[in-house]
Each structure stands twice: as structure tokens, then as C-alpha cells.
């Protein structure tokens, strides 16, 4: 069974951001706040980001149970969240 490691997850999350935000996302630090680092990352863009990550990894984010604002505020946190969800699904 193919498992994906943290680096692969991070690269795929970054690719999601690059498709929407181009060059600004290419140099993104893992701990940079997305709303500060990416021009145009407003509430609508944040929702699109979460939805695109769901599509990329085949997961569904729990908007009621999970702190979505926290987990999707940086590339690093998103990667951590996705890794946990993918591991949960594989378990």
C-alpha cells in the first residue's frame, strides 16, 4: 500500500496554493500565515483552499469539529492536518 510522507504532502499542498497564487506561493515558508503572505487570501480564498486540499487528498474536513481556521492558516499546519487525516483513513 502506498503511503505518503510529510514532504510529499507538503509539496502537493504547495502545488494547490501555486495554482491559485502563483509566484507568491512558490517562496512560501512553512510557518508563514497565509493571509499575510498571499495577496488576495481572503475568507473566500481560504474556503477555496480548504476545498482544493480536500479534493487533492480525497479527504473531507470537519468544519464543525476541527479548528479549520487554525489548521489551514499555514502550509506547515495544513500538512500536519492532512497527514493525520490520511493516516486515519489508512488505519
Amino acid at each position: 500500500m502506498h503511503t505518503i510522507d510529510q514532504t510529499e504532502i507538503s509539496n502537493r499542498v504547495l502545488a494547490v496554493l501555486e495554482k491559485r497564487f502563483g509566484d507568491a506561493a512558490r517562496t512560501l515558508a512553512a510557518d508563514a500565515d497565509l493571509s499575510d503572505a498571499l495577496p488576495g487570501f481572503d475568507s473566500l480564498a481560504a474556503l477555496e483552499y480548504v476545498t482544493a486540499v480536500e479534493g487533492e487528498f480525497g479527504i473531507e474536513v470537519d468544519f464543525v469539529g476541527d479548528d479549520v481556521r487554525y489548521w489551514f492558516s499555514t502550509l506547515g499546519r495544513t500538512t500536519e492536518y492532512v497527514r493525520d487525516r490520511v493516516e486515519d483513513m489508512a488505519a
Binding site: R20, L44, L47, E48, T51, G55, F63, V64, V68
Partner: protein
């Protein structure tokens, strides 16, 4: 005298003290400023509130209030009705504050439906939920939620614009149902060409007391050509055929791009598709482009081509991770056209 003229021009452009400015989104052209009066806002809230919404205890507003739809139902209606409003557009991830037994109004643009679907357990605390939807076509999730959450949830689409306010409405129904024609609001009247054929598309031109004042005018226009092509089905009802600007000729064949859009949505509900005319090219002639996102589903270019085999082919089919949208949920034309490879047009 010159100073007076200058001041008059300035006050027209900036608005009089009691006027409320709204800018068109620019999604179908250059952004322009329009002004509305408080009594027009109140009239629209009362009209739609009485006819479609009924009494409410709480408003969940997903429409940014700098645009007319969000201002009307996310600011004016809560103020006039004296009920709390949750500005969900500003923080879509915040928990919805719905208390047991409340009658809820949800003010929706396309992105709202994904969030409402995820918050369905919260909505189920309410005794009733009415959703008003405007700004762009409802996404498949809207139709699905209306089916799953009936009879708790009923929903209506509002057709309108910054210039006109709400023009007409129709129910938002589960997928596969025919929502039927648009019904005009009672204070809207149609201006029709007496020589026009009884059937067939014609441009929708309206009159009404809720038309806004343009930036460069001293009063609202007597009538307004909406740019929509419609087929009238009754004295106060019509079907929307598309935008006037969305009727193009590809190799001599008329193509209503709204019909192309409908076909793609019907055949490929799992994909998100936007169809736009390409800027006219005197050599290549008129053409159109399909932007699409599979949203993680197994859809390919071959499926798009197969869905459109009844139409002249698009000149480009552009796959995107997601469809970029403006703050009101309309497809962001500038961002979409930036994705086109000019060499292949």
C-alpha cells in the same frame, strides 16, 4: 459658475448624503458606481421579505455587504426586523450561532452552500430555514442540500443586479427538477417591442421604482436594458436564455453560451465548468472557451468534448485546480482569462 458645476459633478459622482453607493462587480465589464436611496432599500426588503421570506429570528449572511444583495439582506433586513445577524462571509469557518426553534434566513452566494451543507446539524436546530440565493448560478451542492434538508429548508433564487435590484424570483429546487420560469416582482414592469415576434429570445428591458441612479446621471433611468436574453412565458414570467453578449456565432452557427453552460452542468454535475466568449478575433472569428475543475472527480477533457458534441467545439478547454471567483462568487473573468495560453487561441 464653474465652481458650482464642478461641485455638482462631484456630488453626483460621490453621491448625496442620503444615497448609498454600490459598485458593480466588474465581472461582465468595467466596474461602475450606482446610488440607491434608503426608501428603495426598505421597499426591496419589505417586498422580498413579505413575498418569500416571512418572519425570521436570525440571519446568516454569506454575501459581502459592499454589494447590494448582501447589504439588503445582511444589513437592512436584520436592522428593520430587529434580529441578530451573523456575518458568515467575513469568517466562513466560525460556528453558526443558531438556537433551537429559531426561524433562520440564510443569505447565499455560491460558496455558502458548501458551508451550509457541512453545518447541516446546526441548521437542524432551527424550526425553519429560508435561503435566498443570488449573484451567480447555484452550485450542485445547493440543489442537493435543498433535497436533503426539505422540508426544513426552502430556497429561492433572486435575479437582479446592482442597477435594478431584485427583478424576479423562482424556487431553488432539488437536482433534476424544473424550477420553471422566473416570476417578476410586483413593482417591476417589462418594456417590450410591439413588433417583436411572439416567441423567441428578446432582450429584457424593465421599468420600476427601485432602479439605481448612475454615477453620471441626476436621477435613475426611466427604463433599463438588463443585457439578458429572455423568452416570455406569460405576462409576468420569462425563461432566461443567457446574456446578450453570450450569444455568439462560431463558424456561422449561433451558440447561446448559457445553453453550453447548462449542458455541461447537466452532463457533468461532478465538475465545475465556466463558459466564456473569447475576445473577438477578426481572423479566427467568434469563439468560446471552457474552464473546468474536476474537483478531485474522475472527469477529463474527453468528457467535456463528449458533453458538447451538439455544439460547435470550444477553441480551448482549460483545466484549473479550482474556478477563481470574485467576492460575490461570480467567476473571476480576469483571473480566468489570465490562464489562457495566447499562442493556442
Amino acid at each position: 459658475m464653474t465652481e458650482t458645476v464642478a461641485r455638482t459633478h462631484a456630488s453626483r459622482a460621490e453621491g448625496r448624503p442620503d444615497e448609498i453607493p454600490f459598485d458593480t462587480s466588474g465581472s461582465t465589464g468595467v466596474s461602475r458606481r450606482w446610488f440607491r436611496l434608503p426608501h428603495q432599500m426598505e421597499r426591496e426588503v419589505e417586498l422580498i421579505g413579505t413575498q418569500l421570506v416571512g418572519p425570521v429570528d436570525r440571519v446568516l449572511n454569506y454575501a459581502p455587504p459592499q454589494h447590494l444583495f448582501g447589504a439588503l439582506f445582511g444589513q437592512w433586513l436584520p436592522r428593520m426586523a430587529g434580529v441578530p445577524v451573523h456575518q458568515a462571509w467575513a469568517d466562513p469557518f466560525a460556528p453558526l450561532p443558531v438556537s433551537p426553534g429559531e426561524r433562520v434566513l440564510a443569505v447565499c452566494i455560491p460558496m455558502a452552500w458548501n458551508l451550509l451543507r457541512r453545518n447541516r446539524p446546526v441548521l437542524e436546530r432551527a424550526s425553519s430555514v429560508v435561503a435566498l440565493h443570488s449573484s451567480a448560478a447555484p452550485p450542485p451542492t445547493a440543489h442537493e442540500l435543498v433535497r436533503r434538508a426539505a422540508p426544513l429548508l426552502r430556497a429561492y433564487e433572486i435575479l437582479g443586479s446592482t442597477e435594478t435590484g431584485g427583478l424576479a424570483h423562482r424556487p431553488l429546487l432539488p437536482e433534476g427538477s424544473d424550477a420553471g420560469p422566473w416570476q417578476a416582482f410586483p413593482d417591476v414592469s417589462f418594456v417590450r417591442d410591439g413588433d417583436a415576434p411572439a416567441r423567441g429570445p428578446e432582450e429584457l428591458v424593465i421599468r420600476g421604482p427601485r432602479l439605481a441612479r448612475p454615477e453620471r446621471g441626476t436621477r435613475p433611468p426611466a427604463q433599463w436594458a438588463t443585457g439578458d436574453l429572455v423568452e416570455f412565458t406569460g405576462p409576468r414570467a420569462f425563461r432566461l436564455v443567457g446574456r446578450g453578449s453570450s450569444l455568439i456565432k462560431v463558424n456561422g452557427i449561433k451558440v447561446h453560451l448559457a445553453r453550453v453552460d447548462e449542458q455541461l452542468n447537466a452532463r457533468l454535475p461532478q465538475a465545475e465548468c465556466v463558459v466564456l466568449p473569447l475576445p473577438d478575433d477578426s481572423l479566427a472569428g467568434e469563439a468560446y472557451v471552457v474552464f473546468w475543475s474536476g474537483r478531485g472527480n474522475a472527469v477529463g477533457v474527453a468528457d467535456i468534448r463528449a458533453a458538447l458534441r451538439d455544439f460547435p467545439s470550444p477553441s480551448q478547454i482549460v483545466e484549473l485546480a479550482g474556478i477563481p471567483r470574485t467576492s460575490t462568487g461570480k467567476p473571476d473573468r480576469n483571473a480566468l482569462f489570465a490562464e489562457i495560453d495566447p499562442a493556442s487561441v
